[in-house]
Subunit: 201 residues, 2 copies
């Protein structure tokens, strides 16, 4: 990218974009040249949106989701069931649960999962804060909604131990066949979980 | 994305990112939440890089590639062969040719290809400017390096007609099997071209 055929402001944007996850040098070039050809407004808006997002947001002091106001609209919503807390790894998981339109409880965002390979221990996550929330009382159920994998499972087990002595119901999202999936192509672990978790018809 | 769980500055960035090519709502969310968790410097740098790129660059008045200085470093490079012009569709194609490290001529960027389906005619491209460049004299060879497809071919044929009366050699990039490719998986048109263009060993 150091060719004289590429001016420095273009190289710079390609370099920055390449640091985003899932964006390699080729995608970064493609996006950059797209922006060059697009109307100026798009670049201006993108520049502003990126610049302002961090400045205008923070973490909710109750659930640690990203928010403008603290506490966040979910935590301060009297209509929602404040006694049920879904524990998720990332803010994006909150979005996914909100999209179901069936969950009416609140959240607790851990900001990661326990991963000894990546050097992430329980103390790096918002687990202490979750325990405090439960200790403060008024919580009926904790729905552990960590990802269905090694790290999510390790995190779930750790939380289970931490909350064992507290008077709260602990549940976990069901494992099984994804809706619209095909048994023929299901991996054996998923199929095993689907069998174990089978329900009466 | 209108859920109360997503603050407006976050929704805004997701929306803007979704307007980039190849970036759907899911990728846009992923990139946005990555930026939220990344150090502030990355957001600041991205914001600046996007904002400045368009302000600092323009099109070279000779070859129409993107540049800071006009004429661009390639067009003003006395060491390069200014008598050989590679005609490409996009600035990214210049990059690709530069990466070969064998091409020492200059460029002419058309900024598109003729596509009647998309309403792009010859007058929308920098073809007139190419003809003027050749008419001005001093050009020995035009290497047509448009994409090997319907639109690139239509563009190449149009340029061929436009330059027919001028004393300039016209060549085109070879078609054939991509290096590292597999004959078994080559499409029949490519294989046909590879056969037609076979060379003595």
């Amino acid at each position: 990218m150091s060719s004289t055929a590429v001016p420095p402001p273009v190289t710079r944007l390609i370099d920055v974009l390449s640091r985003l996850p899932g964006v390699g040098p080729k995608t970064a070039s493609r996006l950059t040249y797209f922006l060059l050809r697009a109307p100026d407004e798009l670049s201006i808006e993108l520049s502003e949106a990126v610049g302002q997002m961090k400045a205008l947001t923070r973490l909710c002091s109750v659930c640690y989701n990203i928010t403008v106001d603290d506490p966040c609209p979910v935590c301060s919503d009297a209509v929602r069931d404040q006694k049920t807390i879904a524990v998720v790894e990332e803010p994006l998981d909150v979005l996914a649960l909100e999209r179901t339109n069936v969950y009416r409880g609140v959240y607790h965002v851990l900001h990661g999962a326990i991963s000894y390979v990546n050097g992430v221990g329980p103390e790096d996550l918002r687990i202490r804060e979750l325990v405090s929330r439960v200790e403060a009382g008024g919580v009926n159920e904790i729905i552990i909604a960590t990802n269905p994998g090694l790290e999510g499972d390790a995190t779930a087990m750790h939380i289970q131990r931490e909350l064992a002595k507290l008077p709260v119901k602990l549940t976990r999202l069901a494992r099984g066949l994804p809706v619209g999936g095909d048994i023929e192509y299901a991996d054996s672990v998923t199929l095993m979980r689907a069998l174990q978790g089978r329900s009466d018809m």
